[in-house]
Symmetry: C2
Subunit: 249 residues, 2 copies
């Protein structure tokens, strides 16, 4: 990627934590949502990993990702049960202690009566030392941000609330802009001229996405760039190429 | 994981290749399907990664995964356009040459007239040296298997066909069996007794999956083991724990 407009590109990775995704029992719906929101605000999602509820796997993935990208977002594993080991694993990855955080405990008490705040629920107030809390307007148990790592719930509605709470606090870069052109053609019929256009616009990414429609194979062509002028130029060439191939009306 | 029943555990990773997933434009539907099918036949999916259409990223991820798991399944990037670089990246990861494979070319000609087999489409017949082809009954362009890496299309209908073609040829282990028990409780109310059961059954994995139902928070408890007797025992204890908490009828 070129650094268009002279400002810094902000990158991110998502780390999904959970056996239930790997067994196929639960279908992940968080990655697509995070990807969309990051693209909208000008953060480039560069990698996603899914790992099981195993401490050494979480720690290794986190340490592999957090040194490489501006931000790492994790989802899952911050509930009250024995299989919720994300907070402890994050503390281990950063080499910091973890204990019940009075601020997090107070948040839980907004939702849970003191008599119901048992040992298990108190686990949800265990926060690595030095982390900032991320409010959760749905069920109060907070997420947190430590260094460049943002730790969120796995339940989509709660994850959405945490994501919206944290996004305004992040650095963002110039937004990736895109235009989509329906090719009305099979991929293989436009691949040659499309490659020629792509080669003439090295600062623009041109993707070709075939799909099976009810009337047969078709293709979406997606032109992406952070530079609006370059984007418009390349998209115009793609659109002209597509139009020149259509039978006269 | 313990090696139940004394046979080898077969593991797998999935590598999703595609900018369109990372931008959020396309929502991945392949991982959940592959995860379900692998679980059904007795292959443990242990990790998923999503990487962009960038050769060095694909090569690095592939070499990181293929030495670690029994099988690696890739999806995406094997079409006819300039952004389809999976086959070349796989060849690079294995250090082998890649060229048009006469068997693959013959498969393409079952679907595409010879006059339409242009240079771009012929790219879909480029197969790394030493790979076995995976038939694709939908659009004929084959996937392939090289070493322990299985390369499939990204379009779900085509991916499904390739997956079903290759699964019967793979080694499988004892199936992971599971029982799901609806807790009719908030996670935090059953976390304590659930942990006690989990600690008494180290060979059994007990997962707790909260969800927001229309009547409020609820929890699915999923008990998993390769040993049917152990599974039945642990699931019975979980069910008894849940039943003992319900108000008398």
């Amino acid at each position: 990627m070129t650094e268009a407009l002279g400002t810094r590109t902000i990158t991110a990775a998502v780390l999904v934590i959970g056996d239930e995704i790997l067994s196929g029992r639960t279908k992940d719906k968080n990655v697509g949502h995070i990807a969309e929101r990051l693209t909208e605000i000008g953060v480039d999602l560069r990698e996603v990993r899914v790992v099981p509820d195993v401490e050494e796997e979480i720690v290794a993935a986190l340490n592999g990702l957090r040194h490489r990208y501006t931000y790492v977002f994790t989802t899952g594993g911050i509930g009250p049960t024995h299989d919720d080991i994300t907070a402890d694993s994050v503390a281990k990855a950063f080499g910091v202690s973890i204990d019940v955080d009075p601020r997090a405990r107070a948040m839980l008490l907004e939702y849970i009566a003191e008599k119901d705040l048992n040992e298990a629920r108190l686990r949800m107030a265990r926060i690595p030392a030095g982390a900032d809390l991320i409010v959760n307007e749905v069920s109060k148990a907070p997420g947190f941000k430590i260094g460049n790592v943002i730790v969120m719930a796995g339940v989509p509605r709660i994850m959405h609330a945490m994501l919206e709470a944290v996004l305004p606090t992040l650095d963002t870069g110039p937004k990736m802009l895109s235009e989509t052109i329906l090719a009305n053609a099979k991929e293989g019929d436009i691949a040659g001229p499309l490659r020629e256009i792509a080669e003439r616009f090295p600062g623009v990414s041109i993707g070709s996405y075939p799909f099976l429609s009810e009337t047969g194979p078709n293709t979406n062509l997606v032109v992406r760039s952070r530079d609006p002028e370059l984007l418009a130029k390349a998209a115009r060439e793609v659109a002209d190429m597509v139009a020149a191939r259509q039978p006269a009306a």
